[in-house]
């Protein structure tokens, strides 16, 4: 029931782009994206509620393909501050915040 994230890890140079994918075998209602830096709490980035919805946050954006039960997080022109582990959290149809399932995470390292 947990979403599957890929890749497990990414190493970038500053200014490069990355895509992180999240997929579920169950019909999804919403997808949340969070970033966790080492030793810190996960921090909310964005939520996607409707199929096809795309949201942006500075140079970080995401899309949600409801038919494929997939979401992708796009990081463009990466900055050193983007380093951390990115988690997608999914909620299935019929559930609300009660049952947020998280993927195993994608560790992103941005080097100078």
């Amino acid at each position: 029931q947990q979403p599957v994230q890929s890749p497990q890890a990414v190493i970038l140079r500053e200014g490069e782009d990355a895509v992180i994918n999240c997929s579920s075998s169950k019909a999804l209602y919403s997808v949340h994206w969070y970033r966790q830096k080492h030793g810190e709490a996960p921090v909310f980035l964005m939520i996607l509620l409707k199929g096809g919805e795309q949201k942006g946050h500075d140079k970080i954006s995401a899309s949600f393909n409801e038919k494929k039960q997939q979401s992708s997080l796009y990081l463009t022109a990466s900055q050193l501050s983007y380093s951390g582990t990115y988690f997608c959290g999914t909620q299935r149809r019929g559930n609300n915040n009660n049952d947020m399932r998280f993927g195993a995470g994608t560790r992103l390292t941005v080097k100078p």
Binding site: Q2, Q5, Y29, S30, H32, Y34, E40, A41, P42, V43, F44, I47, L49, F87, G89, Q91, N95, N96, N97, N98, D99, M100, R101, F102, G103, A104, G105
Partner: protein, 113 residues
């Protein structure tokens, strides 16, 4: 405006003992969810409390129990600790039970020896 606060930050217990972890939600939030995060893994949902009741529960044994108080703060209790219970325990709060973002505390690092 204080965010989610958890105590203690670190805890070392012996196998078989019992532990209580505490969480104060962000101001204005009335829903508290607890997660277990093993090293290198994503947070695993334990349960959620709303209106002082357990609303949903993940795949965790009855050794894991909780409570929510009238001021919305919450406790997580783990009995008969196992070595495998060693993890970071995260508390997350949100307003209501809708599709709102979760606000996480910094967690309690539990080590069972």
């Amino acid at each position: 405006d204080a965010g989610v606060t958890q105590s203690p930050t670190h805890l070392i217990k012996t196998r078989g003992q019992q532990v209580t972890l505490r969480c104060s939600p962000k101001s204005g939030h009335d829903t508290v969810s607890w997660y277990q995060q093993a090293l290198g893994q994503g947070p695993q949902f334990i349960f959620q409390y709303y209106e002082e009741e357990e609303r949903q529960r993940g795949n965790f044994p009855d050794r894991f129990s909780g409570h929510q108080f009238p001021n919305y703060s919450s406790e997580l209790n783990v009995n008969a600790l196992l070595l495998g219970d060693s993890a970071l325990y995260l508390c997350a709060s949100s307003p209501g039970t809708g599709h709102s973002p979760l606000h996480f505390g910094n967690g309690t690092r539990l080590t069972v020896t």
